[in-house]
Amino acid sequence: MINKYAHAVDAEIISNKRVGAYHHMVFEVGAMAGQVRPGNFVAISVGGETSAMVLRRAFAIHRSMDRGGSGGVVELVVAPHGGGSKWLTSLEVHRKVNIVGPLGTAFGIPTEPVRALLVGGGYGSAPLFGLAEVLKSRGSRVDMVLGASTAGKIYAPLEGKRAVNSLTITTDDGSAGLHGKVSDFLPDLIAASGTEIIYSCGPMGMLAAISKIAGELDLVHQCAVEEAMACGIGVCMTCVLPLRDTNGTIRMQRSCIEGPVVDGSRVIWDSPRAIPEGTWGAQ
């Protein structure tokens, strides 16, 4: 069944704090918290009852905590960007918002301990910390590299840092960490930590660069893609991207239910927004 545990809940905001360019927000979601796996996202109604914004906004789940009974919370990292996210981040604690979740695919977790490299761009780091915790609890080695245009856009909370074996920061403007793009430093990092699997989340350009490197080194690469979504639950067909099947057929697939986490080797990186030649049903 699609989105087997998804349901809607009027969730109270129990914390809303600015952290650099983002807001770290905590929502009381009850039982939903226990059903979240790293990589899942939620879809939130924005603008209130008389809002002109008719669509939900998707947010990767940063962390979730099942506190038993009806006391679960999910945490999100939200960038105030346009109308919806600005409205959300402006809300005061105790306000309620309608949340649907957990949605979408999760990062695949190997049954055996592995050496994993987690790569995040901007708020794309959000889902990686929850993933790091799970990987660590299974005995894996977790190295993390986070990149952004500038220091304020690196989201790396203290407790998160503790959960990883190493953390590398890169910024395009050199205002924090290494000066450059995440992908510039990947080959060395992979070599240094003996990476066996890469997990990534961030802008499409970054994911493409990582996928190229992973391909060359023959590493598994699970990435969380981000396409404009109208519904988040698979009913509208707006969020598609061309994905290669196991037998090589390319089909336009919904990133909300086939993703957001997909195997990097399935994505047609040179034209993720076009209809590649040979796509099933192309006119």
């Binding site: 069944m1 699609i2 008719v54 509208c236 049903g281």
Partner: protein, 310 residues
């Protein structure tokens, strides 16, 4: 009071008047996590074409004030896979099924009608004629009386006569009652009003149209006044025809508005995106409102805004 929530649309009885709109409810599989499909009056399936279609490139959507644009380009698996996979699944869940079909030529419509005729468990066929006619420089079938008539005639002549035909019209015409007239003459048993309005958003960063397909279909609450007007106009001219109303319905009061204008049932589209439980909310609110206003049945309220007295 004994309230009757069933509705008769194009001669077929449905247990309640709230349907999902074509293209806005996936294959049904995506919503069943949220509610049983049997709670809907009917599932109207995404318009299906003869062959598999990839649809358009992305971006395929843009949010607009109280609405959205979409340009999906009729992505779908084609009629063969649809009849083999989707219909049996919907039947197994007990859903009432209205199959929406779309063609690129008059011959396509005829062929689709033939292929559907043999299939059991379908309540009605919605004929989406708001799509481009490849034989006529891409002009939309329902935007021209001649092609609108040809498409519906082709379906009528080739379909199992026991299957009611609902013609779905585009509001992008000078006089929608004229198109209603020709499709009724061509054999439509009911009308679905309205499809999306043609719109465009320009991205002020890239300074180009935001959608890959440039234009897209405008839906959602923004267009509700246009939908209510279209339903009212058509009902005024053709009081006997069944209308499946749609366009921006998000709550029971708005579904009631469409019924007062002349709709016998109401499809819910864009509202599903904002709330997967929208149809269930609308249905509950509508029932309450109809009872509160003293109607003993849906039928009694259909077109009630047209009365001349008081």
């Amino acid at each position: 009071m004994n309230f009757d929530f069933t509705t008769t649309l194009a001669g077929t009885i449905f247990p309640n008047p709230i349907f999902t709109a074509s293209g806005c409810a996936g294959s049904g599989k995506e919503l069943i996590q949220f509610f049983p499909l049997t709670d809907l009056g009917a599932v109207v399936t995404k318009s299906i074409m003869l062959k598999p279609r990839s649809g358009r490139a992305t971006p395929r959507m843009a949010e607009t004030p109280s609405g959205m644009l979409n340009s999906i380009g009729l992505q779908g698996p084609g009629i063969a896979a649809f009849l083999q996979d989707d219909i049996p699944w919907l039947k197994s869940k007990g859903a009432r099924i209205v199959v929406s079909i779309a063609g690129e030529s008059v011959a396509d419509y005829a062929e689709l009608a033939r292929l559907i005729s043999g299939v059991s468990g379908i309540s009605a066929v919605e004929v989406n004629i708001s799509c481009p006619n490849v034989e006529s420089r891409g002009q939309v079938f329902s935007c021209n009386p001649v092609t609108a008539h040809a498409a519906i005639s082709a379906v009528k002549k080739n379909i199992d006569p026991s299957l009611p035909i609902i013609a779905k019209l585009s509001p992008d015409v000078t006089d929608i009652t004229e198109i209603a007239d020709v499709v009724i003459n061509a054999g439509a048993d009911g009308l679905a009003l309205i499809n999306t309005l043609l719109g465009m958003v320009i991205d002020t960063n890239s300074m180009k149209p935001k959608l890959a397909g440039k234009t897209g279909g405008l839906s959602g609450p923004a267009i509700r006044p246009v939908a209510v007007r279209a339903i009212y106009q058509v009902k005024a001219r053709f009081p006997q025809i069944s209308i499946l109303g749609m366009g921006g319905v998000t709550n029971g009061r708005e579904a009631f508005e469409m019924i007062l204008a002349g709709a016998s049932a109401v499809s819910v589209g864009t509202a599903n995106f904002g709330n997967p439980l929208a149809t269930m909310k609308i249905k509950a609110e509508l029932q309450e409102l109809l009872i509160e206003r003293g109607f003993a049945s849906v039928a009694a309220a259909v077109g009630y805004a047209h009365r001349e007295e008081d």
